[in-house]
Symmetry: C2
Subunit: 355 residues, 2 copies
């Protein structure tokens, strides 16, 4: 599978009999490799180490993690299957605190178990949970497709687009969110060009987005994160489109560290700033961005780049994985239910009753 052509290589999740093959994104683009996950612990580790990343993809991975737990469960265990599944969900939930799709996917899996599978024999629970995980992935692909079509209407001909991090096939298992919109605009013949910030510390832009854009034949230019201002000041950016890891009820949203700086630059230069994300990214239980927990990651991600030290090993470091952009800087949310433009007072009612 790892030796396969481009279509196969871009498949993030492959189920084989009783285990999950997961594309190891930490090695891309220099190496295309899959890791075998035989338990929910393997999936949890892959999420923590960012071998799978991107808010929707983390949700899908976690869903497969619950299915794996059922396959792993032994009828001789002293724990009940239900306890075992809930414990697995807890382990998976604690891997990364910011993205809300993870919680959403786990809740959906447990709901499927409790409502439809609880009284069934183990074999049926296993296939039922596997089917539910596959459905979450299929739904994500369908959502990506709708996000792409709604979003592409916002992209002008020959637009120079600034995106950020990786929000493509690798981030969702489908077409992608923000990058999916760009791909659709390209497919529609809009002759877009994409500026790709490398996205330190983990370099998802330089490693993953560059790879996906080249596979799709979309023209792009890689920059370091600090070059975005230079491009804005020269009128080289027509619009910005990014993904999101969690969106609060007022429209404030968390996304990869560095997103906020791009939003301020877009605002300062009066350029549109769009956020593309499935409805599962909205957390209406959270009033504003202040309440979104921000994950702090290992300082070595900053001290080293792909394993090469760039400073001394004891250097004091800050390494927040995300920042929060206030809704005032957002020109619109692109969801599978349509585009939501400001003001965002009625986000909740839109999500329930889109036009």
């Amino acid at each position: 599978m790892a030796q396969g052509g481009r279509e196969v290589a871009l498949e993030v999740f492959c189920w084989e009999k009783d285990h999950l093959l997961l594309l190891d994104q930490s090695k891309l683009p220099l190496e295309v490799d899959y890791i075998a996950c035989c338990s929910h612990h393997d999936v949890a580790e892959a999420i923590r180490e960012m071998r799978v990343r991107g808010a929707p993809a983390i949700g899908v991975a976690a869903a497969f993690g619950i299915a794996l737990a059922a396959f792993k469960y032994s009828p001789e265990s002293k724990d009940s299957l239900e306890d075992f599944l809930f414990e697995a969900a807890k382990v998976l939930k604690e891997t990364r605190p910011t993205a809300v799709n993870l919680v959403w996917a786990l809740e959906r899996m447990l709901e499927v178990y409790q409502k439809r599978l609880k009284e069934k024999p183990l074999d049926e629970v296993r296939t039922g949970l596997l089917e539910a995980a596959r459905q979450i992935l299929a739904d994500q692909k369908a959502r990506d497709d709708k996000i792409a079509s709604f979003g592409a209407t916002l992209i002008p001909e020959k637009a120079n687009i600034l995106t950020y991090c990786n929000t493509g096939a690798l981030a969702t298992g489908g077409l992608g969110t923000a990058l999916g919109v760009i791909v659709r605009a390209h497919e529609e013949g809009k002759r877009v060009h994409v500026y790709v910030p490398e996205t330190r510390p983990v370099l998802q832009g330089a490693r993953l987005t560059v790879w996906e854009l080249r596979e799709k034949g979309i023209p792009f230019t890689l920059i370091t994160d600090n070059m975005a201002g230079y491009l804005f000041s020269r009128g080289e950016i027509d619009l910005v489109i990014v993904g999101a890891d969690r969106i609060a009820a007022n429209g404030d949203f968390a996304n990869k560290i560095g997103t906020y700086s791009l939003a301020v630059l877009a605002f300062h230069h009066q350029r549109p700033f769009y956020v593309a994300a499935p409805v599962s990214t909205f957390d209406l239980g959270i009033a504003s961005g202040e309440d979104i927990p921000i994950e702090m990651r290992n300082p070595d991600e900053v001290r080293m780049i792909q394993g090469t030290p760039i400073t001394d090993s004891q250097c004091p470091v800050l390494n927040p994985a995300f920042d929060v952009t206030p809704h005032e800087l957002v020109s619109g949310f692109i969801t599978e239910k349509g585009v939501i433009k400001p003001p965002f007072e009625s986000l909740a009612s839109f999500l329930e009753n889109p036009f």
Copy 2:
């Protein structure tokens, strides 16, 4: 010398008999090494490859380059000494187009030659030019000292300061410009803390500024360049202070790529944004930032980090070494003649007649 203690290690320029030992900043902080420059060509190469960098230090290096040319000149040459020196100045001037201190230092060296040494024997020209280069370095140290004292008056107690790139001893051969101000505030007991962006692509922040701050015992935190917005949004930055490579007559200025984004963030969050630079950085012959030439550097600086590839070797890349920040975003210029606050209409008259 390379084995010496901290004081010696921080000496950027060491003259030995007939050649210059130059601290190789491209290897810091993992290795402290000096390279021997035996001709102006060696100095030009060191400047091009950023083994010596920082606008004032480039000026000093170029001045020593002219002295080296005189030492290298053979009386049997078919070229006159004057032609040889002017040719050397041309070679040195073409190394990097943005910093104006380079041009200023070369013009000063040629003026010394023409006004005071032209008719003298070769030996006296050599010692005269060496003396002039040493004087430029000594003057820079004196200027740094004054910049530091003027600038420190602007730093509040317990300030959290965001700086950028490296503007310390390594960038000038003296105390530094922006970093010199921070060092002076620290010496005055102001208990400052410094946020240091790594400064991609060449990582002067992570490699050089971190090293200097640790040597001086000043508390700091290393961040990636895209984390500055996060800090501003949380009220963690009290002020920004950066250096400059060229300042136009209206106050627009060029500095390391990424400076402009920090200026926009400071403006958006209503935080002071200061520029510390010697008067030799002002280019009053240039009306505005639009006329400052921006050096485009090797794309491999972006594609690789310290020699490690982060993306594929053919990836399309933009790599401007500098950006231009408009004067509207500047709270003040800290020079050896005092602090210039807005409006900057009378920059020229201030530089000639400071208070």
